[in-house]
């Protein structure tokens, strides 16, 4: 909310200059600096640059309860504002699926689209004995305590899920014996892994790109269907025999109460951003892979995802 005052002032100023056009607002449900903030700022900037909106999109940071505060605010207080978009990602659906938003459910808003995804990765230090995903899974099977994972999300979060999904796929079921520490973001997780405090890092491609170029780490698996453009030498988990696909999509949701016409309008604008050169460049610079799903198609993808994660979380014992 810290940018709100400024945003309000600027909005007022633009209204005075530019007539009655009302500015769109994008809520980033976190402090500046994270993925949601990036989504809002980048999409907001491109929306304005390509002329999809008349006035700059105002970004409001509303950190709280891992996105839960923004979610409840939108559902309870701002349910019919058609100029409002909210940044979302896999973390949003993971938490909704695990009932971590104080009883809120995924059908209380409308998911309007995703325009890019950060492929999940499993990373080890450059001098690690593990050359393939298989090496690591075998080592864990032999001694579950010997490999500790570090990731940027809390216990039970999406980063934690990734290695568990791989291990389940590899036939290892005692997932509660796997050590995982949640630290402050992917870069911190890499620092712990390069420092030798943990044996592997689980995170997103964007978090590891610059460390990869520097030679500190090796990515032993990327969790996508196919190898990621630009990183063709990194094998997928799938081709190593572990059929796990886990990407952190970046997208938006809008309030439930807006009309279908407004929903379609946002879907169309998002498609415009997805097709722009600016977004292609932003994706390339930040290690995102193309992943465009808008409108009703995306809504059904999200519904499926929530159901899957919910089932898996129960199986994993993260929720009852």
């Amino acid at each position: 909310m810290k940018t709100k005052v400024k945003a309000f002032g600027l909005t007022a100023a633009f209204c005075l200059i530019g007539g009655a056009a009302s500015a769109a607002e994008c809520i980033a449900p976190a402090n500046p600096g994270g993925g949601w903030d990036f989504t809002c700022r980048q999409i907001g900037k491109i929306l304005y640059d390509i002329g999809a909106v008349d006035t700059p999109v105002q970004v409001t940071n509303m950190p709280g309860a891992g996105g839960g505060l923004a979610y409840t605010t939108v559902v309870n207080e701002r349910n019919d504002e058609e100029n409002l978009i909210i940044a979302a990602s896999s973390a949003t659906t993971t938490r909704l699926a695990q009932n971590a938003y104080a009883g809120m459910t995924a059908d209380q808003v409308r998911f309007v689209g995703a325009i890019g995804a950060d492929p999940g990765v499993i990373v080890v230090a450059a001098d690690s004995p593990f050359q393939t995903l298989g090496d690591m899974v075998e080592a864990i099977k032999a001694d579950p305590g010997s490999v500790a994972f570090a990731g940027g999300s809390a216990v039970g979060g999406f980063d934690h899920m990734k290695p568990l999904m791989i291990l389940k796929e590899g036939g290892f079921t005692d997932i509660t014996s796997i050590k995982y520490i949640g630290v402050d973001g992917g870069a911190d997780a890499i620092t712990q892994t390069v420092g030798g405090f943990t044996q592997a890092m689980t995170g997103d491609m964007s978090e590891v790109v610059s460390f990869l170029a520097n030679g500190d780490i090796r990515v032993i698996a990327v969790l996508t269907e196919d190898r990621v453009p630009g990183f063709e030498d990194i094998p997928t988990a799938k081709e190593q025999g572990y059929d796990v696909v886990a990407v952190n999509w970046r997208g938006l949701y809008v309030p439930k109460g807006i009309s279908d016409a407004h929903f379609e309008e946002w879907a169309g604008k998002l498609q415009q951003v997805a097709d722009s050169e600016e977004w292609a460049q932003a994706m390339a610079d930040n290690g995102l892979a193309p992943f465009t799903l808008v409108g009703g198609q995306f809504q059904s993808y999200v519904d499926g995802l929530v159901a899957d994660i919910n089932a898996m979380s129960k199986e994993l014992g993260v929720i009852q």
Binding site: K4, D184, D188, G195
Partner: protein, 501 residues
């Protein structure tokens, strides 16, 4: 020389009339933001980010503006600490301990100039350190695992005893209170909410800015009301503002040592400027010994935390630029700015985008000089604030605090909580329990607990893991000495209290 040519490149990028103008604007805005209670460097920078887009600034100009605001806020925080005994932002907390007593002795001008110079020394040395050592220093972060971090925070708490109070037990009690408050919120290791009473507002814990403003500003207001507007501690004697050359000269070693301590604390990801100023202050306090007069308004007690927090601000840029790990809240915001400008900090930034890195370093140096020039002559303006009678000043400060906190969180709940902290602060002061350890508990408690929990997960609950590396053993030894030594030394060193300055 590689560095000189790089620096020339940086100044070539940063030194144009337009960017200089931005630097001056940024420094001025930053100083004001820092000085206002409730508005710290991180929200200051966050508020101003949209401006860089609206103005259509390129990467370098945006960086110059934002780093000027960042450094400016680090300078500005000291002003309200010294004049009002209300820290302008969390790293300026330690400056209240000696800055305010010094102002009450009628040396407000001296304290402001001295702390301005100390800030300059700290920031300048840190920028030079960043310039010379950043790529190699980044490796330091790889040496710090959960066990080492736990020992580091333990060191901070162990040296806390007796601070800001004559009674160690009361200081310890206050620290425990802070640690307890730090436990509120979602537990990061299990994802379960603790002590939240089911309220979503408490899921992220208690924001320390809310606590600071409540414990200092609101509590002050209650005292003011109690005394019916008379005898408030606000309203200190004024003297002519001149440059206290003698104090500056006397504190030169303090400034240099504190800059070193602060810089190292800044480099460690997550430790940040608050820990930097705290460790700098405690180091100087222990060097000066019990007769150093720390806490009563000595120049060294003003110079140490200011040099420390500004050096830490520069140090925090090291892990941000070289690893992409922000060392403090503000650098997290700067990281966001860089990423929106499509610059991804990380190990390759120095080689791939030298114009950005060296432009940034050049702009830090420029901002620093601008701030020194701005802060020393302009100190009179800030001292003039004191001429305003307390019955205008205090409600004004309170109002600004409320607006500042509301702009930060946008939640009425935080307003109520702030008043709650005000009540707590009022009673604590009545009972002569220091409030600074409470804040430090809130500020560092969460990190300390996370470090312990992570260490326990990695070691299967094996306690010896906490002493398993030379670094952690060293920190433990220092922590235990810091805790035990004062108890014995107090009797051994019982000399007549000397007036040191």
């Amino acid at each position: 020389m590689d560095i000189l040519s790089n620096l020339a490149l940086g100044f070539g990028v940063a030194l144009s009339p337009y960017t200089l103008f931005l630097a001056v604007c940024g420094c001025f805005l930053g100083t004001i933001i820092g000085a206002l209670p409730g508005l710290g460097p991180s929200n200051g920078v966050a508020i101003l980010i949209p401006i860089t887009f609206t103005l259509g600034l390129d990467a370098t100009s945006a960086l110059v503006l934002m780093t000027s605001v960042y450094y400016g806020a680090m300078y500005g925080g000291r002003i309200s600490s010294i004049l009002l005994n209300i820290p302008g932002d969390e790293p300026a907390l330690m400056t209240t301990l000696d800055g305010y007593p010094m102002a009450k002795q009628g040396r407000a001008g001296d304290a402001l100039v001295l702390s301005g110079v100390a800030s300059f020394v700290g920031a300048l040395l840190a920028t030079i350190g960043l310039m010379l050592l950043a790529p190699s220093l980044a490796r330091v972060a790889f040496l710090f695992g959960p066990a080492e971090y736990f020992a580091l925070y333990l060191l901070a708490f162990c040296t806390l005893g007796g601070m800001a109070s004559n009674n160690q037990a009361k200081a310890a009690l206050a620290a425990c209170m802070g640690l307890g408050i730090a436990m509120i919120g979602v537990d990061s290791s299990s994802g379960l909410p603790r002590l939240t009473g089911g309220s979503l507002h408490l899921f992220d814990g208690v924001d320390f800015l809310v606590a600071i403003v409540g414990l200092f500003a609101i509590a002050e207001l209650f005292f003011f009301i109690e005394s019916h507007g008379k005898g408030s501690s606000i309203g200190v004697a004024l003297d002519k503002v001149r440059v206290p050359w003698k104090d500056i000269f006397d504190t030169k070693w303090t400034m240099l040592r504190s800059s070193g301590v602060g810089f190292v604390a800044g480099i460690l990801p997550g430790a940040g400027a608050s820990l930097g100023s705290f460790l700098a202050y405690m180091t100087e306090k222990s060097i000066a010994g019990p007769n150093g007069g720390f806490g009563t308004g000595v120049p060294k007690g003003v110079a140490a935390p200011e040099a420390g927090n500004n050096a830490a601000a520069g140090g925090a840029l090291v892990p941000m630029l070289t690893l992409g790990v922000p060392g403090s809240g503000t650098t997290a915001v700067l990281l966001a700015l860089l990423m929106t400008l499509n610059i991804t900090p990380g190990p390759t930034l120095f080689t791939e985008r030298p114009e950005v890195v060296w432009g940034l370093i050049a702009s830090l140096l420029i901002a620093n000089v601008v701030l020194l020039l701005m802060n020393v002559p302009m100190v009179k303006i800030f001292v003039k604030v004191l001429m305003v009678p307390a019955w205008i000043l205090l409600p004004g400060v309170t109002m600004i605090s409320f607006v500042g906190i509301f702009s930060l969180t946008g939640s009425y709940f935080d307003m109520l909580m702030m008043i709650g902290f005000g009540v707590l602060g009022y009673f604590l002061r009545k009972l002569d329990v220091p409030t600074v350890p409470v804040i430090l508990g809130i500020l560092l408690g969460g990190n300390m607990e996370d470090a312990l929990r992570r260490a326990m997960i990695l070691s299967d609950g094996d306690v010896t893991y906490l002493f398993s590396s030379p670094i952690s053993i060293g920190l433990w030894v220092a922590a235990i000495l810091g805790f035990v030594a004062p108890m014995f030394l107090r009797n051994v060193l019982k000399k007549p209290p000397a007036i040191t300055d």
